[in-house]
């Protein structure tokens, strides 16, 4: 028989041992020793075991005794989350590191634009959700003590009052947490003492549970086979877990595993190395499996051996006790004690960080109007706030325990707590995976989920008539049938837990999503969103201060008060050196201010740090570059923008084509625009001479016969010129409208050229040497010889008129290739300027190189072009070389009929 006093002594020794271990770890960490252990994946994995609280240690057996295998869902969820570390935890840890996140409230507020309101909401929810859980731990310690007390009681007939034991446990835990949890202010320096103590406790509880389990299986049940047989024969021998509960509880446990403040603390905040996650990904599921391995055997054996009415929640203790295994019972008690204390310590630590950073500090800063740059040691205030928060939270837990009278099955309280913190999940997941999530969405989602949780889970848990009247249970709020806490919207028959989880989480997520879609994030939010979502792509922070106005001294004063004088000086000196400057004060560059803000965030949380720096720097500013950076960072945006780039390239190309076309059109349109003006000019010019000389002839009496003849001949010449112009215009019009009639005949190139050269040179005033090679011109083909000659005449005449050489020479050469005959007219003149080339073939283009421009109307080449098109060839300018080179290209094929429009070829042959 173990006496209560013995138990208390063992307990105190154990606690003293924990203090020593924690103290030693702190010292070692301070000296930089013992990193191999303190920062080992083993310790990290073991510290995760605070997931397994007294609820696990005692409650799981009770749970199994009541509901069979359903208890195991509480461990399946977290195991899946660990195995899925690649998807979620890796991101969380990376974000926690990059943003120096101090708690889950800090993470959510930081993600949604460093909103303090959000942080307060999350903190409040966490406190409300976790306080029952802390009460649960105190209750379990008291209950376990009562087992020993009961076994001792018959001696004097009275069970000693154990209420005070809960108080003592609470005080002890508060002391430990204050001592080791607020030792160093910067949470990111991590609480080595706490972590190592938690790790030790993890080993103790595992060993204790395994020991009881082994004793039960091999000591009481007689081996594995017998145990399994006994299980099948028991009341819980049949699988009768409700499917919806199975799935819902697995998901709920998974959600809580991520969202519980204490889990977030050990998993993200205390994480030293991302690689530890990888090891924990299999090691922690292993731990969980071992913890739950013997639960069913213990439950079944307990149901078998212990008298009916024994509390199944305490089988772990009462079984060894009833078998007289005092040592084992003691170990088991220590295991349960460890589970309870480690949970309370870490949960309190996590909550107190949240309370002090998000509630106390902002109030303190607001109350002190002077703000962060005034004198006074903020550092002390922060630590004091944190210590007070610890006391407050443990006090709350204790009060809850006293108020609730320690009633109710352990598992029920645990599940309620899980349901409360699981409400963070949509905001958390949305925040790190979805850039579109907004603060308004997070706030409304959290509020919805939390309100539903209160209504469907927390308040009903007090029982009918306590928080909610029996009337509300039966008829709903205000008599509205669809507002019954366990049958929302009239859906009845669901298990109350499943009902609460499904409604609160799904509506939470729905509201979060919808509000996010319909609200617009502010710049800081958007920036943080990008950094959180893309944390794996780049871990560099990008938000910057326009810090030129921030005085380094002021920042230094503030930093000293929060980080401590020595740490602040080291930090500032480090930055000064990094910037390459002399002295100890760095320039307040945006990089530096941002690094400082993150350093401060480690001590007081992102929102508070942001507010403090903002007070000195003069307002948070997000520059256009920042926003551009956000845009740049998004992989989606990149993909999208590359598509845009491709599109814009296409557009640029199209635009260039359009521009070229437009240029030509503009020029053409100018030409067209000037068409009437040109025709007017071409008609009026000869008419001026005709009119003038005819008036002279008419009005002048004493003209010599010679003059008369001369003036008459001028009139005649000009009249001919007019006729020619009209002919040309008509010709062109006919050619352009496709009404031309071709007189096709077989001829040789030489003959056509002969005719053209002779015609062109008749009456020519300037000499022009024409070089030809009759041999290559001996090509026969089918064409309209007159029209072709017209083209050649035009080209020869042009050379005659416009070739500026002192000894004008025109070389006519012929080449045959690819089914074409090329006749090239190359003169030795000055050539045509590049900008004029495009216009040469347009109507009325006269380049006016010589004064002898009065002859043609500038229609010749236009006509040539039209003729060549009708003949199935074309005419163009050959670039390069000296002089002007026109190339007339004819189809060479014997059988090839010259191209003419259908219906035009009335007189073929």
């Amino acid at each position: 028989m173990v006496s209560l006093n013995q138990l208390v002594i063992v307990c105190l020794t154990y606690v003293a041992g924990l203090f020593i271990v924690a103290f030693a770890a702190e010292r070692a960490a301070l000296r930089g020793h013992g990193d191999w252990l303190l920062r080992s994946p083993l310790v990290y994995t073991l510290s995760l075991s605070i997931y397994c609280t007294a609820w696990t240690f005692y409650g799981a057996v009770g749970y199994a005794a009541r509901s069979g295998l359903e208890y195991v869902t509480i461990y399946l969820g977290p195991s899946l989350i660990m195995v899925a570390w690649w998807w979620l935890l890796r991101r969380l840890v990376r974000i926690g590191r990059a943003q120096r996140v101090t708690s889950i409230a800090d993470l959510i507020s930081s993600r949604f634009g460093k909103s303090n309101l959000l942080a307060i909401v999350v903190t409040t929810m966490a406190v409300i959700g976790v306080t029952p859980y802390i009460a649960l731990q105190l209750q379990s310690v008291t209950l376990s003590l009562s087992i020993f007390a009961v076994s001792e009681a018959p001696a004097d007939g009275a069970v000693p009052d154990l209420g005070s034991s809960a108080l003592w446990v609470a005080v002890g835990l508060a002391l430990f947490t204050v001592l080791f949890g607020t030792r160093n202010l910067n949470v990111n320096e991590r609480h080595h003492g706490v972590v190592i103590a938690v790790a030790v406790e993890a080993v103790v509880k595992l060993v204790a549970l395994l020991a009881v389990g082994i004793f039960v299986v091999w000591g009481l049940a007689g081996g594995i086979e017998n145990t399994l047989a006994r299980i099948d024969a028991s009341d819980i021998g049949q699988w009768r877990v409700d499917g919806s509960r199975w799935a819902a509880l697995t998901i709920l446990a998974a959600a809580a595993f991520v969202c519980l403040p204490r889990m977030f603390q050990v998993m993200v905040v205390e994480n030293d190395d991302e690689r530890h996650l990888q090891i924990a990904s299999w090691a922690f599921p292993l731990y969980l499996m071992l913890m739950s391995l013997f639960v069913v055997p213990i439950a079944v054996t307990g149901l078998d051996l212990l008298p009916p009415g024994s509390n199944p929640d305490l089988f772990v203790l009462s079984l060894p006790l009833s078998e007289g295994q005092n040592g084992l019972a003691m170990l088991s008690f220590l295991g349960g004690f460890s589970s309870a204390t480690s949970m309370v310590i870490v949960a309190t630590l996590a909550l107190s960080t949240m309370v002090s950073n998000h509630i106390v500090m902002p109030i303190f800063l607001a109350v002190r109007q002077g703000g962060a740059s005034q004198s006074g040691d903020v550092r002390n205030v922060v630590i004091l706030a944190r210590r007070l928060s610890i006391l407050l939270i443990i006090g709350l837990g204790y009060s809850y325990y006293r108020a609730s009278g320690g009633s109710g099955a352990l598992a029920a309280i645990g599940l309620i707590s899980f349901g409360g913190v699981a409400q963070f999940l949509p905001a958390l997941l949305g925040g790190i995976f979805w850039r579109g999530a907004t603060r308004a969405g997070a706030l409304s989602g959290l509020a919805t989920g939390f309100a539903l949780w209160m209504f469907t889970m927390l308040l009903p848990s007090f029982g009918e008539g306590v928080a909610l009247s029996a009337g509300i249970f039966a008829e709903g709020v205000l008599g509205l049938g669809w507002l019954r806490p366990q049958a929302l919207f009239g859906i009845e028959g669901l298990d109350p837990t499943v009902h609460a989880v499904v409604w609160s989480l799904s509506l939470n997520a729905l509201v979060f999503g919808l509000v996010s879609i319909f609200t617009f994030p502010d710049p800081v939010e958007r920036l943080q969103g990008a950094q959180f979502v893309n944390v794996l792509d780049h871990s560099r922070p990008t938000r910057s201060w326009t810090a030129s106005v921030a005085g380094s001294e002021e920042l230094m004063i503030m930093a000293q008060r929060i980080l401590g004088a020595r740490e602040a000086q080291v930090f500032f000196r480090h930055w000064a050196q990094r910037q390459g400057g002399a002295g100890t004060l760095p320039e307040p560059t945006p990089d530096f201010v941002q690094a400082l803000e993150r350093e401060l965030a480690g001590a007081v949380g992102a929102a508070t740090a942001h507010a403090m720096v903002a007070q000195i720097v003069g307002g948070a500013s997000v520059s256009v570059q920042d926003l551009l950076a956000v845009a740049d960072e998004s992989a989606q945006m990149l993909e999208y923008s590359s598509q845009l780039e491709a599109k814009s390239r296409e557009l640029v190309e199209t635009a260039a084509q359009l521009r070229a076309a437009n240029e030509k059109l503009t020029q053409l349109s100018l030409q067209k625009d000037n068409f009437l003006s040109q025709i007017s000019h071409e008609l009026r010019t000869p008419m001026t001479s005709i009119r003038s000389f005819s008036e002279i002839l008419r009005d002048t009496d004493r003209l010599s016969a010679e003059d008369k003849t001369r003036y008459a001949s001028i009139i005649h010449t000009e009249a001919l010129r007019l006729t020619r112009l009209l002919d040309d215009l008509l010709d062109l019009s006919v050619l352009e409208n496709g009404q031309v009639t071709l007189n096709l005949a077989r001829c040789t190139l030489g003959d056509v050229l002969d005719h053209a050269v002779t015609t062109a040179q008749t009456g020519a005033t300037r000499p022009l040497t024409i070089e030809r090679d009759p041999a290559e011109e001996n090509l026969g083909f089918l064409t309209d010889p007159d029209r072709l000659a017209q083209v050649f005449i035009n080209l020869v005449t042009n050379a005659q008129k416009y070739c500026v050489s002192a000894a004008p020479r025109l070389r006519i050469s012929t080449a045959r290739h690819d089914g074409w005959i090329d006749v090239i007219f190359l003169d030795n003149g000055a050539g045509i300027a590049p900008q004029d080339r495009a216009l040469v073939f347009e109507k009325f283009t006269r380049l006016m190189r010589t004064g002898d421009a009065g002859d043609g109307a500038g229609l010749g080449l236009s006509i040539c072009r039209e003729i060549m098109t009708r003949l199935g060839g074309h005419i163009d300018l050959v670039e390069g070389g000296d002089g002007t080179a026109f190339r007339v290209r004819l189809p060479a094929g014997q059988a090839e009929a010259p191209k003419a429009r259908v219906g035009d070829m009335q007189r073929v042959g």
Partner: protein, 89 residues
């Protein structure tokens, strides 16, 4: 790397298999589910074997994957999601 990503979903699927099991008779002998009095149902021992078997499988797979993929790049080095680290073996 892909196995690493798929593993949790495999685990989830296997652990949701019990949803398909017929419900056994209740402790008072009343069948909470339908047709449970004729079908023998799944015994808790079998269920235990199955669930813990899957558990063990997941743990071993995760451990093997950890061995195979090797360590992640350190926190200072950016992880390029397009080029997952290939371990030896």
């Amino acid at each position: 790397m892909d196995a690493l990503r798929v593993l949790p979903f495999l685990g989830l699927a296997l652990w949701m298999v019990p949803l398909l099991w017929p419900l056994g008779p209740g402790p008072e002998g009343l069948p909470p589910g339908t047709g449970a009095d004729t079908a023998p149902g799944m015994t808790t021992a079998d269920a235990l074997r199955y669930i813990f078997g899957v558990w063990l499988l997941l743990i071993l797979s995760a451990a093997v994957l950890w061995r195979r993929t090797g360590d992640l790049p350190g926190p200072g080095e950016p992880v390029d999601p397009a080029a997952p680290a290939e371990g030896g073996g």
